[in-house]
Symmetry: C2
Subunit: 229 residues, 2 copies
Amino acid sequence: MSEARFENIEACVFDAYGTLLDFDSPARRAKDTLGKNAEALSSVWRQKQLEYTWLRSLMGAYAPFWQVTGEALDYAMETLGIADNELRQRLMQLYLALNPFPDVAATLKVLKQAGIKTAILTNGTPEMIAAACSNAGIDGFFDAILSVDEVQIYKPHPSVYQLAVDRLGAAKERISFQSSNCWDAIGASHFGFRVVWCNRYDQPLDQLSAKPDAVIKSLAELPPLIGIK
Amino acid sequence: MSEARFENIEACVFDAYGTLLDFDSPARRAKDTLGKNAEALSSVWRQKQLEYTWLRSLMGAYAPFWQVTGEALDYAMETLGIADNELRQRLMQLYLALNPFPDVAATLKVLKQAGIKTAILTNGTPEMIAAACSNAGIDGFFDAILSVDEVQIYKPHPSVYQLAVDRLGAAKERISFQSSNCWDAIGASHFGFRVVWCNRYDQPLDQLSAKPDAVIKSLAELPPLIGIK
C-alpha cells in the first residue's frame, strides 16, 4: 500500500474492464449453465482476451476488441470442453451488460461535482463500451469515452495513452489514470501519467519498468488522493 | 492434428524455450525445496515471463530476457508466498541448464545429415542460450543462434522473424519454423514462414489471425514432414 500526493489534477481517466465494469459478471450470471466451471471459464477468458490484444498488437494484426473477446471465449470454452453455441451467444451479450463495481457511480459523482474532467480510455470498441456504460447506468458521467480502436493498437502502447492527452487537452502530469490492471497502470506510468492502481483483486505488483504512484483497494479512495474532500 | 506438405525447405529454425529446452525442469529439480508448489511456481513463472516480454515490447521498454526471467520469478515467488533468496539463485542457475527434450538431439542430427541449415531464434540473450545449449549438449548442431537481443524487441514482432531471413539468406517460404508455443507459431505464420506447431503441452489452438501449417506432438515427426526419409 503506497500513497503519493497528486497535485493540480485536471482530469481523471479510467480503464473500463475490471476497473469500472466487472468482467466476471457474465460467467457468474450464467452459473445456472456453467456450474462449477464458471470461475475457471471467466479466468481463462480474461487471460486470453488480454494475451490476444498484446499478441495482435505486436504482430501488427489488430482486430477489434469484440472479435478478440469472442475468440478468447472460444479458446476458454474449448479448454473446458464446453461446446454450446447458445451459451456462447449469451455470454457475449452479457459482456455488453457488465455489472459496474459498487464504488463507481458515487466516485464519479464526487469528481464531477468538484469540476474534474472524467474520461474512459478502453480497449473496447466504441459500440461495446457505449452499450456497457449505458446498461450500467454510468454513461452520463464522462466528458469523453476514448477507444483504442481509433489508433488500432492496444494498451499498453504509448499511442493509446496519448489519445487521452490529445482529446482532453491536459498535460500528462495533470491527468490521474486509474486501472485495476497492474500492467495497464504500469504502462500509463511509463507513459507519464499520475497513476493509481486500484488493486481490486489483491494481486502482487507486476515487476516491470515502472510503478504506479499510488495503490488503492476501491475507487472510493480516489477523491481524497487528488485533494477532493 | 493437421498436416501439410513442406517443399523445398532450406532451413529449419527452432524456438528454444519449450521447444528444445524444458522450462519446467528447474522447478522439478528444486522439488526438494519447493514441494507441492513446484508445478504452480513453474506455471506462473513461465506465464509472467512471456507476459513481461509482450508488455515491455508494447510499452517500448525492452529489457534483456535474463532480467525479465528474474522479475517473472520474483512475481511467481511472491504469488506463492515464498521468500527465499537462495532458492531464487538456484532456480536462475538451473535456467541456464535446462533439460533438452528427448526428441531434440536425434532430430537435429537427421536434419544436419540431410544438409538442412539449422538455427535457433530465441527470446533468450546470447549468453543465456549459449549456456543452455552447451549444458544440454546440443550446441554443435546449429549453423546460427539468433537472439531478439539484436533487435531489442520480443516475439512475435515481425523484426524478430526477419532476423532469421537476413542471417540465413533463405526466403521466408524456404524456412520451416518450429515452436511449441502456439502464439509464436502463429506469429511466424503471420510473418510468412512455413510453420510447425509442436504441441508438446496438448493445448487448444490459439484463436489469432493466422494458423500453423502443421501440428506435431514431437520433433521426431519433423523430418518426414519436410521430405526427409
